[in-house]
């Protein structure tokens, strides 16, 4: 924390920070409109695909008797994975008092909310009869990991929203006080309601800190459970490739890789688009690069365990599955994911140059795409080799390839997630103004001052 500044200097710094960080809210130009147009249009096309699917049934997908969990479930696992970064950055690093992560935590929470919300929606889209969704709660089996997963996903979504909202309250009060005339009136009213009559007194700050602390501690077990339980959906079966005890930590480590890459990408876009060079500094990208290398190394370690140990033994079913991955149908996808999504990024990011904003972002794009395909490789090849083969079924029952409807609905999920992130960034500052100003040495008492007209 910087030393305490004089009143004039404090006000000047606060004004600059405010105008920089509210640029995302006030800016209205062609590009923004175009961006939203694209997002809504593609999300709409995806929704149309879903309407077709509801009308015609799950037969329009490529899923059959063998592969009954297709691209939707792979996509679900991907989104759950991405959402986990919220817990790593805005809770774990905070509690460890790692200060560089503070400006990033709101980005991480945005991603967490968008991803976990979509994860829930994708599950409903995977249902042949979504109108029977409530039966999951009415007739659920308490001993089933699916019920645990439903519980933990909803809990994590609630905590993520709260963890996004509570540090936002002082910011909302700032916006309410300072943005009059710059934004439409309804937005101002929204800030007024959401800021809960914030005055910035000692007691209120104490309550905010306390609530944040409770949430940060709470989100650690919940965050770990969300992906561990998701991994149990697979690991609690006897299928080759899923029947392994390492599944929980393997999923969690992989989730951090995917999430960190997503954060880097969103950070870079904000930095470029909203002119936040002084906020998402090169230093942040450097640290995020190092974090990404660290989690990737952990993930690589789990990958070696996951593939080398059963690969050494090549037990019958496991052997068929592994040779399918290593040298069979899925070999090209498998090695591309492992090399372009894990080994190469680790090697590159060890060099300082590749931790600079642009190179790091490009690497992150590869990491993120690879981690999507990685989930595909976890879900589908295993299902193509059941223990009890069906006889005399058409050949296309034995192989899975997603249909265009599935691709449409999956695209919907991507665009809907981007839409949520974009809307959040249009409504709320992408960095916590009050925390950032305090970090720069501005006393809290200036926050509630009305700026001179």
């Amino acid at each position: 924390m910087n030393t305490i500044k004089s009143p004039e200097e404090s006000r000047k710094i606060l004004n600059t920070i405010c105008s920089d960080l509210t640029r995302s809210i006030t800016r209205k130009d062609e590009l923004t409109r175009f961006w939203f147009f694209i997002l809504i249009m593609f999300a709409g096309v995806g929704l149309w695909g879903w309407i077709i699917q509801i009308d015609k049934g799950l037969g329009v997908t490529g899923m059959r008797d063998y592969v009954s969990w297709g691209m939707y479930i792979a996509n679900f696992v991907f989104f759950v994975a991405v959402s986990l970064i919220g817990f790593l950055i805005s809770s774990a690093l905070h509690l460890l008092k790692i200060s560089w992560s503070k400006p990033i935590s709101r980005v991480a929470e945005q991603i967490a909310i968008a991803a976990v919300a979509l994860a829930g929606i994708i599950i409903v889209m995977d249902m042949g009869r979504p109108d029977r969704f409530l039966n999951v709660f009415l007739h659920g089996r308490f001993a089933s990991p699916i019920i645990w997963d439903v519980t933990v996903v909803t809990t994590y979504l609630t905590i993520s929203v709260l963890l996004f909202y509570i540090p936002l309250i002082p910011d909302l009060a700032l916006l309410r006080d300072r943005m009059e005339g710059k934004i439409p009136n309804w937005k101002l009213q929204l800030y007024k309601i959401l800021s809960l009559g914030w005055k910035g007194n000692q007691k209120q700050y104490k309550l905010v800190y306390h609530a944040m602390r409770v949430l940060m501690i709470l989100i650690i077990p919940v965050g770990l459970s969300i992906h561990t339980v998701t991994s149990w959906l697979f690991a609690a079966t006897l299928r080759a490739g899923w029947d392994t005890t390492i599944m929980g930590p393997y999923f969690v480590a992989g989730a951090f890789v995917a999430g960190a890459a997503a954060v880097v990408i969103v950070m870079y876009v904000y930095r470029l688009r909203y002119g936040l060079k002084n906020y998402f500094e090169d230093l942040h990208f450097d640290y995020m690069g190092k974090l990404l290398v660290f989690v990737s190394l952990v993930y690589l370690y789990f990958n070696i365990n996951e593939f080398l140990v059963p690969g050494y033994k090549m037990k019958t079913a496991e052997g068929i599955h592994l040779s399918n991955l290593f040298t069979g149908t899925y070999a090209s996808m498998f090695w591309l994911v492992q090399v372009a999504g894990l080994i190469l990024p680790i090697l590159l990011m060890l060099v300082r140059y590749f931790r600079k904003p642009l190179p790091l972002t490009i690497i992150s794009v590869f990491v993120l795409i690879s981690s999507w395909f990685k989930r595909y490789l976890i879900v589908i090849p295993t299902l193509e080799h059941p223990f009890l083969p069906v006889q005399n079924v058409p050949d296309y029952f034995k192989h899975y390839s997603p249909t265009s409807i599935e691709v449409m609905i999956t695209l919907f999920s991507f665009f809907a997630a981007l839409l949520i992130i974009s809307v959040l960034s249009k409504f709320f500052p992408v960095i916590s103004i009050w925390e950032y100003a305090e970090e720069k040495g501005v006393d809290k008492k200036y926050f509630s001052e009305q700026p001179k007209k």
Binding site: R141, F142, A143, S144, I147, W148, T151, V152, T155, T158, I159, L162, I166, I169, L196, G197, W198, K199, N201, K203, Q204, L207, V208, H210, A211, V214, L215, L218, P221, V222, S225, A236
Partner: protein, 293 residues
């Protein structure tokens, strides 16, 4: 009707790959003149008919009606010249060994029963005396009740004569079946006496449902048009033993069998998280309140 067409289509497809079957079906010389060891009498023909209904009719159809399945080669009607031109030994060989779409019955029908089927086929041969005559069915009435204490089914059967009067049906078999999930299971038959009454003792071994209840179905033979009598849920069977297929100790169980510690852990963990969330929401209310001070 639709399913029948579909089924036919599938069967036709299945046998498509046997074009060789359309060629002459030759019977080895030593088999050709084997003689039927069973006498040609009503009992054997009647049994042969039952066997034919169970095993052959689905492809060969009803005798003389030419309603066999459209397969290649077509399964001939048993009345047809093509069928009757076979010697007894030839028929026996073909039933025993099968070819193409015609299955072998060597392992599924006993040797005597195969000869009985041949006896039934000969019932439609002009050189043989016709023992089974297809007379038009007679209207009949059935009354039945169950004596649960003695485990007996008591039946009264009547038939309608040409004048329209109902008279006692004498010396005729009544069939007693148990209603099962997939059709009726024939238990046995009883002959009516001179008063048209028959009594059937239900075997001790009959298994009912979880309470030992069985629905008994009483019917007359196919020469009579009578509504079957269904005696719903009579307590005449043994109690069905329903073993619990999931052991109590397994974790992945139904809600009735759920492990208490697992249920408590789940409720405890989820409950604790939601109580904490509730606590945070309560802090929000406090923030709002302290803004008014």
């Amino acid at each position: 009707m639709k399913t029948k067409i579909l089924l036919t289509f599938i069967v036709v497809l299945l046998f498509w790959r046997f074009p060789a079957a359309s060629q002459e079906w030759l019977v080895p010389g030593n088999q050709l003149n084997v003689e039927n060891p069973l006498p040609y009498n009503l009992e054997n023909v009647q049994k042969g008919k039952d066997l034919y209904q169970q095993n052959c009719k689905s492809c060969h159809g009803d005798p003389g009606k030419n309603n066999h399945l459209p397969l290649a080669p077509p399964p001939p009607d048993i009345v047809s010249e093509q069928m009757q031109a076979n010697t007894d030994g030839g028929l026996f060989y073909k039933i025993t060994s099968g070819r193409g779409g015609m299955p072998q019955f060597e392992t599924t029908i006993s040797e005597d029963d195969r000869w009985r089927i041949i006896n039934f086929i000969r019932n439609y041969n002009a050189d043989y005396e016709q023992l089974l005559i297809d007379a038009p069915p007679v209207n009949a009435k059935l009354l039945a009740s169950v004596n649960e204490a003695d485990k007996k089914v008591e039946v009264l059967a009547e038939y309608e004569d040409k004048a329209g009067n109902f008279l006692q049906l004498e010396n005729t078999p009544v069939f007693i079946s148990a209603k099962k999930a997939f059709g009726n299971q024939l238990l046995g038959q009883a002959l009516t006496d001179e008063n048209g009454r028959a009594v059937y003792s239900i075997p001790e071994t009959l298994i009912g449902d979880e309470q030992g209840l069985v629905s008994i179905v009483v019917t007359l033979g196919e020469n009579y048009l009578a509504e079957q009598v269904v005696l719903e849920k009579a307590k005449v069977g043994k109690i069905k033993d329903v073993p619990k297929l999931i052991r109590k100790e397994v974790l992945w169980s139904t809600n009735e069998n759920v492990q208490l510690w697992l249920l408590l852990s789940y409720i405890g963990a989820a409950g604790a998280a939601w109580i904490a969330i509730g606590y945070v929401v309560f802090q929000l209310i406090k923030i709002k309140k302290s803004g008014k001070e």
